[in-house]
């Protein structure tokens, strides 16, 4: 037996409502057979029994928040398409690459039919002509599972012309990326799908709902967002909103990684589950590894400003988290215990965003690299106090004015809430600065300690080391 594992790890044994992960417990959750055996395509049938407008209204009533990062309600987004303008497209965002995020790949690998059914319901409700399912290139297993599921679904008459004997016809085309984080941004996704470089377009004026793929109205939705629809179509908006809170109904998938005892992907109750529940709760991560102290955590993917133990009791509710100086983003929590080398950890994120910059706008292209170089120096113990100041100066060129951060009792800081100003086209530029800003604001002492360390190195040794 090999000691490495191919299959995605997944643990979630809590007794909570499962809207999107209900088939994860089966090894064959991805087959049409299992899907049929567990209520598969009932949602599509339920939708087809109603008018498109009724289905759309149901989705609106349920307030299905987008799970890709921005948290915009799906039903509202569909309604932004200019009436009467056709054809319209759906582009499924399966480009999952935000640091810390691991859920869409699971949904595609473990339950591809659920996603397909979600696409069909959306297409029916919003009058879409064609669906493009854009899967991140570095996910061949997801690709194979989705391709197999699509082939099965075509054969079974769920996709294509006159679906289940109705007037409703739509094709779903599997498309795959080739490695570029920024393509996950919806306008870049569209550019990429047009065969171009994945450079984001400025919004406004180009909102995909009005001017998207091939200049036509286009909905971009995340894999998890769409995977909610079959359950919703069967159980109705009332059942959906009965879970979670009024502003954050339903559940959401959250990946918890880093220094916890039981890292994993959990489907939690939206709006009520707190970070403390998640990190310490028995049905979740069961505490910090080795019972160490928690130093900090990133609450919503690599782009989110960091939290410290001060924020543990916040629930997964975007307004509250925003007011506290961060965001829920893509449902990814990265946990750092007290042994963490903060400058090094932050460096990985700056490096990520600098490397993933598309390069079209000056502040991100030039600023990101510059931030990374300085952070590398600081992390390596070669930095200076001027370097620390310079980081903020560069930050001002990317995000002029006040930048959000969490409150910290330890260093005596008040929270600065969202939003912030930015000089870039998309959020990659600001994200490069976020980790820098959080780390240096909350843990300046750790950076300074490294600078001091360097001074203690005798000159002679340094000279030798230079060779």
């Amino acid at each position: 037996m090999s000691t490495y594992t191919w299959a995605a790890g997944y643990v979630d044994d809590g007794d909570r409502p499962q809207i999107v992960t209900s088939r994860f417990k089966y090894d064959d959750g991805y087959t049409l057979e299992r899907y049929h055996a567990t209520g598969g395509y009932d949602g599509l049938r339920a939708a087809l029994a109603r008018t498109p407008a009724e289905v759309h209204d149901e989705v609106k009533a349920a307030t299905v928040l987008g799970r890709g990062g921005a948290g915009f309600p799906a039903g509202t987004k569909w309604g932004l398409m200019p009436p009467g303008k056709f054809p319209r497209f759906l582009v499924v965002n399966g480009d999952e690459s935000e640091p810390g995020t691991y859920k869409d790949r699971l949904l595609m690998e473990r339950d591809p039919h659920q996603l397909i059914e979600g696409c069909l319901i959306a297409s029916y409700a919003a009058g879409l002509a064609q669906v493009f399912l854009y899967i991140r290139g570095e996910m061949p297993l997801a690709h194979e599972r989705v391709a197999t599921a699509l082939n099965e679904a075509y054969a079974a008459g769920y996709i294509g012309r006159n679906i289940l004997g109705s007037q409703f016809s739509v094709d779903i085309v599997l498309h795959w990326g080739a490695g570029a984080y920024v393509v996950g941004e919806e306008t870049a996704l569209i550019e990429s799908l047009e065969g171009k470089r994945g450079e984001p377009r400025l919004k406004p004026p180009f909102f995909p709902a009005a001017i998207g793929l091939y200049g036509q109205p286009t909905i971009v939705n995340n894999v998890e967002t769409l995977s909610n629809l079959p359950w919703l179509a069967v159980n109705g908006a009332e059942a959906y909103t009965a879970i979670g809170t009024a502003t954050s109904p339903g559940t959401r998938m959250v990946a918890v990684s880093g220094h916890v005892k039981r890292p994993g992907v959990y489907e939690i109750i939206n709006g009520t589950t707190t970070f403390r529940d998640l990190l310490y709760g028995d049905e979740f991560c069961q505490g910090i590894r080795d019972d160490n102290e928690l130093k900090a955590f990133v609450p919503g993917g690599g782009s989110a400003p960091w939290f410290t133990p001060d924020q543990l009791d916040l629930p997964f509710e975007s307004k509250l988290v925003g007011a506290a100086g961060s965001m829920l983003g893509s449902g990814a929590v990265m946990v750092m215990d007290h042994t963490t080398d903060i400058p090094k950890a932050a460096l990985t994120l700056v490096h990520f965003y600098a490397a993933e910059s598309c390069g079209q706008c000056t502040p991100c292209r030039e600023g990101g690299t510059w931030l990374e170089r300085i952070m590398q120096r600081l992390a390596d113990g070669r930095g200076s106090h001027d370097d620390l100041d310079q980081l903020f100066e560069i930050g001002q060129a990317i995000c002029p004015g006040v930048f959000p951060h969490a409150a910290s009792e330890r260093v005596g800081l008040e929270a600065k809430p969202f939003p912030f100003k930015m000089t870039t086209i998309c959020f990659v530029g600001p994200s490069a600065y976020t980790a820098v800003h959080s780390a240096v604001t909350l843990f300046r002492d750790e950076f300074e300690a490294k600078i001091v360390e360097r001074r203690r190195i005798p000159v002679s040794i340094e000279a030798v080391g230079a060779h």
Binding site: S2, T5, G127, K196, F352
Partner: protein, 204 residues
């Protein structure tokens, strides 16, 4: 001959036929050519340009934007070690050091036998299973140095040939859209109200 071969041209045309505009097939066709040749050749880009109606400069511009496309031969196995935060917190650096020592190349290098190319990679959407790596984009979770060694041994010995195709082959299952079932490509020239939607559309 590193233009697309005959079988792949047929496949390419089928793929192009799924999009309202041919140029959308650029990335899938680049993958197809990488599957054929192991990397993206100059002739392949010219050929793809002809197929999708773009200049070679435009194809090159697109291709070089994306990390997965290689413009020079790489090893049979591309070993990508994730170095982003979740993995770094749980030992990605050690794993990379070990990999460099074991393979005898620095990140970015290819072993002398042409079997392995080692690369530093960014988040692989597996963060809860850190530290992670991929071989030809197949995930390997919760890696240890011992597991790494065994994996390399197995790959070198051909014990994983069935599981991991050589670099360039992404997915071994392709989508088929049966002609008799297809709804058809959306027409941009003759826009039509969807048949199942009552017109005029109820504005919401």
């Amino acid at each position: 001959m590193s233009r697309l071969n005959e079988a792949n041209v047929i496949l390419a045309k089928e793929i192009i036929g799924r999009y309202p505009k041919a140029r959308s097939a650029t990335i899938p066709l680049l993958h197809l050519s990488q599957q054929q040749n192991g990397y993206i050749t100059s002739e392949a880009m010219v050929h793809i340009g002809e197929l999708v109606g773009a200049t070679s400069a435009e194809i090159l511009g697109t291709a070089t934007f994306y990390e997965m496309f290689k413009f020079e031969p790489v090893g049979k196995y591309l070993v990508n070690i994730c170095g982003t935060m979740s993995c770094q917190l749980l030992g990605a650096d050690e794993l990379m050091h070990h990999a460099e020592a074991r393979l005898g190349v620095k990140a970015g290098g290819t072993t002398a036998d042409g079997l392995f190319t080692l690369e530093h990679a960014e988040c692989q959407a597996a963060c809860t299973e850190a530290p992670n790596m991929q071989v030809n984009y197949r995930h390997c979770h919760r890696m240890t140095t011992a597991a790494f060694d065994q994996l390399i041994d197995d790959l070198a010995a051909g014990r994983l040939d069935g599981e991991i195709p050589p670099h360039g082959t992404l997915a071994r299952v392709r989508q088929q859209i049966p002609a008799d079932k297809a709804a058809g490509v959306a027409s941009l020239d003759a826009p039509a109200q969807p048949a199942w939607m009552p017109a005029p559309e109820a504005t919401s």
